[in-house]
Symmetry: C2
Subunit: 373 residues, 2 copies
C-alpha cells in the first residue's frame, strides 16, 4: 500500500520536475545570453509510425524547433511557457481543469489564444515536450465513464487520505474522474476486467451480478472511452495484473472503440501508457451475428467506407481475427448492437454469451498481435 | 426511515396494480363476450395545454380508443398488452431495461415492432393509460448524470437492503441510475440542491467543496437531464424539502435545460412529478454576461430562432425574468459558457459568482410564475 502510494506521489514529482526542467532551460538560455528555444519530436503525419514491439503508434526521428529568435515563433513559445506555468499551478495546487477552462483561464493572465483549437495544440506541445499526458497536469476531459466491482481504493485527494473505500458501495457505479484515476488500488477479489461500450449494458451486468459471478471489475466506457479512462484501464491491468475483455456493439465503430483501448490512437503517438496492448476485443463480432442469428441493421455507406479504412490500418494488420471480422462484416453487410441479445431474453447476454466469450481460448479473442499465454 | 421505505414499496405496489387492472379489464371484457378495448387521453398537439396551476403541460379532455373490434387496432392493442406483460415481468422481478432492450426483447415473445419508434410509442401509450412513467416499469435511459453530497441513502436493490451509504464516499461522484432513484433518503446536512449542466463544473464544485461550504447536494445533469434525473431532483426537493438552484451555460439551450427541469416538456404532458416547479434558474443569465463582462461567442442563426420560439412558449410567459433574459440575449446577440468565469481564475465561479446567485432574493431568480416565500 505504502509502495503504491509512493509510486503515485513519485509520478507527481516527475511531472512537476518535467515542468521545472523546461522552465530552467529557458532561464539558463537567458542567463547565457541566447534566445530561448525548445526542440520536440514532430507530430506531422509522416513522422508517425506504428511500432510493432510497443504495439502502438510512435513518433519518428523528425523534430521541430521553436526559437524566440524567430519572430513567428515568439507567440507559440510564450503560449507554451504559459501553459507550462498554468499546468504547474494546477498540479502543485491539486486543482483540476479542462481543455475549455485552460482556454478561458488564459485571459486571467492576459495571455491570448485566438480559439480553443490553438490552446489545445499548445497543450499537446507541452505533452510532446515533457512526455506526460495532460491528465498528469490535471487537465481532464468531461467525466462520463464509470466503474463497479470489488476493488478497495484509497483516494489521494484532500480529505480522503487513508480511507479505504470499496467500489461496490453504490450499485449504479462510480464515475471515473480525477479522484479515482489518482487513487491507490489496495485490494481486489476480481480476476479480470470487463469494459463495456454502453452504460445500459453496464447497468445490466451489475444487476445480473457479473462482478461476483465472473469475479470482474466492470467498466462503462460511455462510448469511445476518454483518454483518462483508457489509461485507467492500463493502470488496473498493470498494477492488478488482470486481463481485460472489451465488449462493444457489433459494427466498425464498436470494433474501433475496442482497438483504441488496445492500441491507442495516432493523435497520442507522442505519449505512452494510454493503451493496453494485452486487452482483447471479445465481441460483438461480425461472426457472432451469424453464430447467434442476431437481429441486425444493414451497414450503410459510411460503415462500409470505415471498414475499408480499418482494413488498411496498421493496428488491424497483425491479428488474423481483426482481419477475419472485417471481412465478415463486408460479406454479410450487417451490423448489430449489444442489446440485440435481448431477443433471447434479457439475461441471455450474461448467462450464455458472456461466459462463452470469457472461456474462449486466447487465440480466438481479437487482441493486437501478441497474446498472453 | 420505515415510513419512507414503505412509500417506495407502496408506489411499486401501485404500479403493479395499475398493470394488473389493465389485464383484468381485458379479461373481464372477454368474459362478458365483448371485444376488449381501452380508452386513454389523446396526446395529439391540440390536446396538450399548459396548466398554470400545476405549472406544467397537461392533456385535455380528448381521448382515443383502441378496440379489438377494429381490425386496424388489433396490432397496437396486442402490442400494448405485450408491453404491459413485459413491464410487469420487469417490475415484478426487479430487472431494469432500456427502450432499445424492449424493442429487441419483443422478438423473444414473437411480438413484432416494425422499428424502435413503434415500440417507444406503445410504451408511451402504457404510460398514458396507467399514469406511471416508464421508469416505474423499470425501463430506464442510459445513465449519464451524477450526484455528490452529504446524503445517507439506503438502497432497496437486492443485496444492499438495510445498509446506509453516504453520497460523499467517492469524490468523483456516483451515477444516477435505477438503484439510487429507488433508494430511501435517510439523512442530510444539505439545505439546498445545486444542479449543474456540465460534468466539468460538477467536478470543479466538488473540488472546491461547494457541497460543504454551501451545504448542498450537487447534481451533474450531463447536458439535458434525463427524465429519471428530473424526477429524482423532484423527489429530493419534495422529500428533503430543499430548494433547487440550476446553473447552465448562458445560451438558449442552457436556459431551456433549466426550464425543462422546472416545467417539464410537452412530450411528458401525460405524466406528473417529472418536473420541479419551485426550482430556479440561477444562471448563467444573459445579464450576467454584461454584469461580469464574460468572454462570449456570437449567437448564430439557430440560437436566435430558438430564442424567438422560447419567447412564445407558455413556460416562459409568466415570469418577468425569463422574458427579460430572452430579450437581453436578443439585444446583446452573444452567448457564453459556465467555464467563461475562468477568465477571473478557476475558483471565481465558486468564490464569487455562486454565493452572489445563491444569496439573490427569490424574486430575482428565474423560476416559473409562483415563488416560494
Amino acid at each position: 500500500m505504502a509502495q503504491k502510494k509512493a509510486k503515485i506521489l513519485e509520478r507527481r514529482e516527475e511531472v512537476l520536475k518535467g515542468l521545472k526542467d523546461f522552465g530552467a532551460s529557458v532561464y539558463n538560455q537567458l542567463d547565457q545570453g541566447v534566445f530561448p528555444s525548445v526542440n520536440m519530436p514532430s507530430r506531422s503525419t509522416e513522422n508517425i509510425t506504428y511500432d510493432e514491439r510497443l504495439r502502438q503508434y510512435v513518433l519518428g526521428e523528425k523534430s521541430v524547433g521553436r526559437s524566440t529568435r524567430n519572430i513567428r515563433h515568439i507567440k507559440p513559445f510564450t503560449q507554451l511557457a504559459w501553459v507550462a506555468l498554468f499546468s504547474n499551478e494546477l498540479t502543485d495546487q491539486r486543482k483540476t481543469s479542462t481543455l475549455r477552462d485552460v482556454y478561458y483561464s488564459a485571459q486571467a493572465y492576459e495571455m491570448t489564444f485566438s480559439d480553443q483549437q490553438e490552446s489545445n495544440n499548445i497543450i499537446t506541445d507541452l505533452e510532446t515536450l515533457t512526455g506526460f499526458a495532460r491528465e498528469d497536469f490535471h487537465i481532464f476531459p468531461e467525466e462520463r465513464s464509470a466503474i463497479f466491482g470489488d476493488l478497495d481504493v484509497a483516494y489521494t485527494v484532500p480529505g480522503y487520505e487513508g480511507k479505504s473505500v470499496n467500489l461496490t458501495s453504490h450499485p449504479d457505479g462510480v464515475l471515473i474522474g480525477p479522484a479515482i484515476t489518482s487513487s491507490e488500488f489496495l485490494k481486489t477479489s476480481a480476476d479480470k476486467i470487463i469494459a463495456i461500450e454502453k452504460g445500459a449494458l453496464f447497468t445490466r451486468f451489475i444487476e445480473e451480478s457479473v462482478h461476483s459471478k465472473h469475479k470482474s471489475l466492470l467498466i462503462s466506457c460511455g462510448g469511445q472511452a476518454p483518454r483518462q479512462t483508457r489509461s485507467f484501464i492500463r493502470r488496473l491491468h498493470d498494477e492488478l495484473n488482470l486481463p481485460v475483455y472489451i465488449f462493444t456493439d457489433g459494427d466498425p465503430w464498436g470494433m474501433h472503440i475496442a482497438q483504441v483501448i488496445i492500441s491507442g490512437s495516432a493523435n497520442a503517438a507522442h505519449l505512452r501508457e494510454l493503451n493496453t496492448p494485452d486487452a482483447v476485443w471479445s465481441g460483438v463480432w461480425a461472426s457472432d451475428i451469424i453464430e447467434y442469428n442476431l437481429p441486425t441493421d444493414p451497414l450503410d455507406e459510411v460503415d462500409i467506407k470505415r471498414l475499408y479504412e480499418l482494413q488498411k490500418d496498421p493496428r488491424y494488420q497483425n491479428d488474423p481475427i481483426w482481419q477475419r471480422e472485417i471481412k465478415t462484416f463486408l460479406k454479410i453487410r450487417r451490423k448489430t448492437e449489444l442489446e440485440a441479445f435481448s431477443r433471447y431474453g434479457l439475461t441471455f447476454i450474461v448467462d450464455k454469451y458472456l461466459p462463452t466469450k470469457l472461456e474462449a481460448e486466447p487465440d480466438v479473442a481479437a487482441g493486437s498481435g501478441k497474446k498472453k499465454k
